[in-house]
Symmetry: C2
Subunit: 501 residues, 2 copies
């Protein structure tokens, strides 16, 4: 007898497995002893198997068939089933042999990528990557896509509903805006002072500053925590257990500060779901792009603003006592907003960041369209860097091998990073109509800003898809206009120049 209660029980089992898996991965990245890799991967495989079994349980087909006759289903319940059905189809459509073959290929490719990266030799990665790529084409076919665009299947996996047709105009427009900003800055400005960034900032003091900031921007440390890991990330073990990580480097105090703000943005989103919907899609993030809009917003729109730094400045000086006596907050503002072409995406400033994304997007498109082969990819990569950023990678490590995503089979992931930047700017513009953001930030009053996010975005979970949410909030689809106006405002102020936008 199918009822909301039986559905909920099954959803909860799936959610428990996902949460426990999140803990296993968090532990693996933070505290797990080095020799435990093998036993941990066995534990994870076991739980993934249990999860997969429950997702693919044919009982769900009955639920979807009988949906109209199940008693007492509210519209919320129906929306939950609708989302779950879509998610589930993406799992069910992949034949078990393909999933297994991909898992094996990924595990081999990850090792090959590490080796290739350490030797800066793409050819060591290429055969393993080719295997993943071929299997990924099969996966795209299994998932299904319209016309010839196999890549769309992968875009959809990371940003539901996204197609090349949607993303192309955004990428083209963003490219224009970024290049205008970049070229003007390169022509008309002088580099900011940065000597004070390479001083020795003790890690315990960086930690103190980060943990001082977190509760002040609204991150609930009773329901979350901050740890250290080689690659910063955030993860949700339960709505009351949201964990962030960062890394600390003695001579990069701003690296830890901005990675904490970034991850806190993700964490604030997860802490903002409604507890009554825990373990259902109504307490889940809409998409990677929307998630990234939260992290980018707190990192850039808020965290790199002059007002934020002015608010933080006394505490920063107190923490690093003496270290900053010869520095002004304006100099810090200019240093954290320096625009300068560089090779590594994760270290890029917020203007050139988009170029890294667009380059990988263009290459992935060409690969899936069969316009280039994998062996040609490094050359295309390098020439795109030369053309968009004016710099040419000297080796594959600082070029095409820099990111882990391909070794995971995560094609189509990068566009969500650019979407995050665009959404963040659009939210910032709309929020600015009802809130005096600079003045609130200047006083450290982040509550109204967080409330706005809670009300407009967090509380809905996946009730609306990204497009609908965007229209609800801003009255128009996602576009590059707000990104442009945000960049204009920020960088005219940083560099004291006029930007032609």
């Amino acid at each position: 007898m199918i009822s909301w209660q039986t559905i909920q029980t099954k959803l909860k089992e799936i959610a428990h497995l996902e949460k426990i898996l999140a803990l296993l991965s968090w532990d693996q990245e933070t505290y797990m002893p080095p020799a435990a890799t093998k036993s941990r991967s066995e534990q994870i495989s076991f739980l993934v198997g249990e999860w997969h079994k429950r997702i693919c349980d044919p009982w769900w087909d009955e639920v979807f068939t009988q949906r109209e006759t199940i008693p007492d289903l509210s519209s919320d319940h129906k929306r939950i089933l609708e989302i779950f059905k879509k998610d589930r189809e993406k799992e069910v459509k992949i034949p078990l042999e393909l999933a297994t073959a991909l898992a094996t290929a990924v595990s081999e490719a990850f090792q090959a990528w590490q080796e290739a990266r350490s030797q800066s030799d793409f050819s060591l990665f290429q055969p393993a990557l080719q295997k993943i790529f071929d299997l990924s084409l099969e996966k795209a076919a299994a998932l299904g896509y319209e016309r010839e665009n196999a890549y769309d299947a992968f875009l959809d996996l990371h940003e539901e509903g996204l197609t090349q047709k949607d993303f192309d105009p955004l990428a083209i427009e963003a490219l224009k805006v970024i290049q205008k900003v970049l070229h003007t800055i390169q022509e008309k400005s002088t580099p900011p002072r940065k000597d004070f960034l390479s001083r020795n900032y003790p890690i315990e003091k960086q930690q103190l500053l980060c943990t001082w900031i977190l509760p002040r921007i609204g991150f609930d440390t009773q329901r979350g925590r901050l740890d250290v890991s080689p690659h910063p990330f955030s993860t949700t073990i339960a709505l009351d257990d949201v964990r962030l990580t960062t890394r600390y480097s003695e001579n990069d105090p701003l690296g830890s500060l901005y990675s904490v703000l970034h991850e806190a943005g993700h964490g604030l989103y997860e802490q903002g779901f409604l507890p009554q919907w825990e373990d259902t899609p109504l307490a889940q993030a809409i998409s990677l792009g929307i998630h990234e809009s939260q992290s980018r917003f707190w990192e850039n729109q808020i965290g790199r603003s002059m007002e934020f730094l002015t608010w933080l400045w006394p505490e920063m000086k107190r923490t690093y006592n003496g270290f900053l006596d010869d520095v002004t907050v304006e100099e810090v503002f200019r240093a954290v907003n320096e625009v300068k072409p560089s090779f590594i995406r994760t270290e890029a400033d917020e203007v050139t960041y988009g170029l890294h994304i667009i380059i990988r997007y263009e290459i992935e498109k060409k690969l899936f369209a069969g316009e280039i082969t994998l062996s040609e990819a490094p050359e295309v990569w390098n020439s795109l860097y030369t053309s968009y950023l004016g710099i040419t990678p000297q080796n594959a490590r600082e070029g095409i091998l820099q990111d882990v995503h391909w070794s995971h089979g995560s094609f189509g992931y990068f566009p969500t990073y650019l979407l995050g930047n665009l959404y963040a700017s659009q939210w910032y513009a709309v929020m600015g109509k009802t809130l005096d953001i600079p003045s609130l930030v200047r006083k450290g009053e982040f509550q109204p800003i967080l409330e706005w996010m809670r009300t407009n975005i967090h509380q809905h979970g996946r009730r609306y898809d990204a497009q609908t949410l965007c229209e609800r909030i801003s009255g128009e689809p996602l576009n590059v206009v707000y990104f442009a106006s945000y960049l204009k405002q920020r960088y005219e102020s940083v560099y004291g120049i006029s930007l032609p936008l």
Copy 2:
């Protein structure tokens, strides 16, 4: 078709669940955000349910029935099945309603105990404890026991095969030995110097010392780690992932040192199982008593010896530079071995420790025999303290409410602590026949000592039961003679007196 492979697959699933549960609990005690208690207990319940389902799977009955006809079962495999069958029966015999009622009662009793303890009022705990106790009698009946001794069912749960009939003579003999030692020390000795223990020992330095020691006594930090928790414990997430915790207090540097040595003893045992038997009983501890023999051995026989302290002394002085300039290592030796009656078991010295165990054992026996009621227990408790230790608890918090075990329904647990001390002494005596322990320890050469444990105890897992192992190692059953001779040797040296043993 039943084969060793199908059996192993099912055993592995059960083991994965146990390991993942161990991680969930470890995380709960160490890093979990405070507000996550509820979601964590849901995750744990879910996994316990999955575990229970697999343990009780009727498929196992078929396995046991067909045992003789399963092809290619080695004698090791047969031993594994024999042990698993016994373990499983203890689960299967408890009716689900009883298990559920006990789980509910325990969760209520734990809260009641915390409240009662904080108010030092046994009557606040008594009703909840009575409920657990009544259900425990039902549980004993379900498990089965001989003659009238329901308590035996609980002894067996914590130390397989242990009965009152076995333990009584050990307890009586140990009581005699302890009282002789205690009374002689009380009559003939003067208290050691202890002023230096209450100085301020920075926690980071205590941590440095503890992590310096661990690899030196053989704890593999690639396959394990040390963290902080309110109550020190050790847990095994995999044979390659053995975790210890301790707690630090600024003016109790020896508290952290000895709790680390104690937990490391547990951890060394778990790291010593053979990897090829992982996920079977042949890579599990025999019993709580044997486990405790390992922790006690490293904490007391080794860790509190003059030779250990002499070896550690230069590092200790280096770590606490300046702090110990007016102290001699002999003074430290006497301080860490002070014998003095006190109320709290976990803070007791190694001589009076046994009295705390014997008192609770006697009370539990009387309760299960119906000789006293729960309401009479606090009075019996106090009068036994007066009679055995010569001190009378002034309140229930330093008396009958001090330990959590009863609130968990863990009756019959305490005797394993005394068994641990007795076994440790017996191993020490036998080991001493082939190894010059004092001289090895003096030089910090712990490898032969650990090797002895590995060869004689660790590598066997549960191949032998505790009694058989003891006879194999020492040629005789467990007895109090070695405990007596160890105490005589140690405390004559500590106090410079002659002990009548």
